[in-house]
């Protein structure tokens, strides 16, 4: 069965694209915290848990919010939507903060609310909680974006009908260096005409490689 990319989001270099359309631009990025807060405000997202998340989860959460604007959850059973994400530095951004909190015995403050984010897949958990998704979920690590591994992984899931749709992509942050890309890939038979302004792309190596270089 054909698999199609029916929508995607790219965040990088201060820009945010939804289906190739630039929706947000911060010419001078000062910090990630300021960038993501400004994006959250502009998009009028209302989700108090957002403020408790670490940077990786905030980045992944906002990317998924923009990707899922069209309320896809009604179209799929809770367990037939998969999430496969990847990055290079896992949760190192929060790991470093956490290690700092235990570095000195005289200022030893390990916090469970920080520690829980020292796992890369927590961002997937956050997205699942937001939308009630209960399907396949995996976090992969690779030095650089590995389009081949992602294509194989997601194709296997969709071809074998382990899910009817899959959110897949890249969510990377370390300090103030960040980049995210998420694509919604759907088995062709389930497609509804959602985005009149975006023609679905075949799910291929070329297509996902291009999505990482939208800017």
């Amino acid at each position: 069965m054909d698999k199609l990319i029916t929508s995607f989001v790219y965040i990088g270099e201060g820009k945010v694209f939804v289906n190739k359309r630039l929706i947000f631009y911060q010419e001078k990025i000062v910090t990630f915290a300021e960038f993501i807060k400004a994006l959250y405000k502009q998009e009028q997202v209302s989700y108090p848990k957002f403020y408790k998340m670490d940077s990786l989860s905030k980045l992944g959460f906002m990317t998924s919010e923009l990707l899922l604007r069209n309320e896809i959850q009604g179209r799929y059973q809770a367990d037939s939507l998969a999430i496969v994400l990847a990055n290079s530095s896992s949760s190192l951004d929060t790991d470093i903060n956490y290690q700092e909190s235990i570095r000195d015995r005289s200022a030893y403050f390990p916090s469970p609310s920080v520690f829980v984010y020292t796992l890369a897949n927590i961002v997937i958990g956050e997205i699942c909680i937001r939308h009630g998704f209960k399907g396949e979920n995996t976090f992969l690590i690779s030095e650089k974006f590995n389009s081949g591994q992602l294509l194989d992984f997601v194709s296997e899931i969709l071809d074998n009908r382990r899910a009817e749709a899959c959110i897949c992509g890249w969510v990377e942050i370390l300090g103030n260096q960040f980049k995210a890309m998420m694509a919604l890939v759907e088995n062709d038979n389930t497609i509804l005409p959602l985005n009149p302004d975006f023609r679905p792309l075949p799910f291929s190596l070329t297509a996902i490689t291009d999505l990482m270089n939208v800017n």
Binding site: D79, R103, N121, N137, D159, N160
Partner: protein, 391 residues
Amino acid sequence: MMRNIYAVSDNIISSLGFTSRENAAAMLAGETGIRIHHDEQRYIHPLPLSLVNTGELNSRFQAVLDITKNDKPADYFTRLEKMLILSVHDALNGISLKINDPQLILILSTTKGNIDLLEEKFKGRFDHKRVYLWAVAYVLKEFFGFINTPMIISNACVSGVLALITASRMLRYGKYTNAIITGGDIISEFVISGFQSFQALSPSACKPFDQNRNGLSLGEGCGTVILSSNQPDSGYNTVKIMGGSVTNDANHISGPSRTGKELSMAINKALLESGTEPAKVDFISAHGTATVFNDEMESKAIALSKLGDTPVNSFKGYWGHTLGAAGLMESVALMTSMKRNILFRTAGLDVTGIMEKINVIKETTSSPVDSCVKTASGFGGCNTALVFQKT
């Protein structure tokens, strides 16, 4: 016709030994590896932990360096890398596998990799990049000479089972013919303080499914499984991977589901894919961390999947919770059960105390073990189930 996936070799490195055989012998002798340790540099109070013997690790590693004529000195490698290399090296021993084969993939499962390198005492001793999880996989790739870029799975405590599921799927999908799946995590100040902050650590060795269970015991170790879509020569007593599934609770990032419904869903899907009826399952190796909520949730899931009468154990009492290695080490122990027709007792369990009536194994016994389920659940709400069958 669906392609068969065979487990052709394996290894466990834990406090109980450096091979699958050494671990099985210790477990059969009734030994467990969780002891009170105290390393004041890393944790303030004495703690029950399962640690790999450092002297033995270093001498066995040096022996492998000598045999393989590797040009790097032993201190080039981190503690975790030494364990992983030893584990993969042992698993490769005695089987014929072409290492530089484009049909071979290495899959690494780890939650924290070389996280100890963030500690002050390691500052400057290793290239700073080694704290990246992919760098660990690259050390293995270079050491053994694999061709393909390794795949790395870091999905909390389900990583090991998920790595096995992924490998079996990639093989069945025809992407590769052979896969080496290895998983490891080490004890660090980072991990200990984190679980302590959650008040998740038991003051004594963990007691899975016990009425007095009071938290988990941390351990370190490695597990390796080699899978192949080629049938091994010795057809007798070979274990096949039949099917697996992954679900998410969509409930809480650090607490398990209250109902066990999502783990049950994973078990049901894995059994369905495998064509295995619940009544045919001989043994379940559960996650069984010995936290109050995990074991409760698992008992509900197992009962929901109509496996309430099936013998269940947790291997955590033998070598603690080894995080990214756990699913692999426990799957190897499960395959030992299958090959030897032995059900291992749940070490640490005295009196079962869970809400749902399930059949937790208290004494090690002989029994036919042909079809098995391995489960794991973890932070981020993830659940996995994997079905094994003996040919």
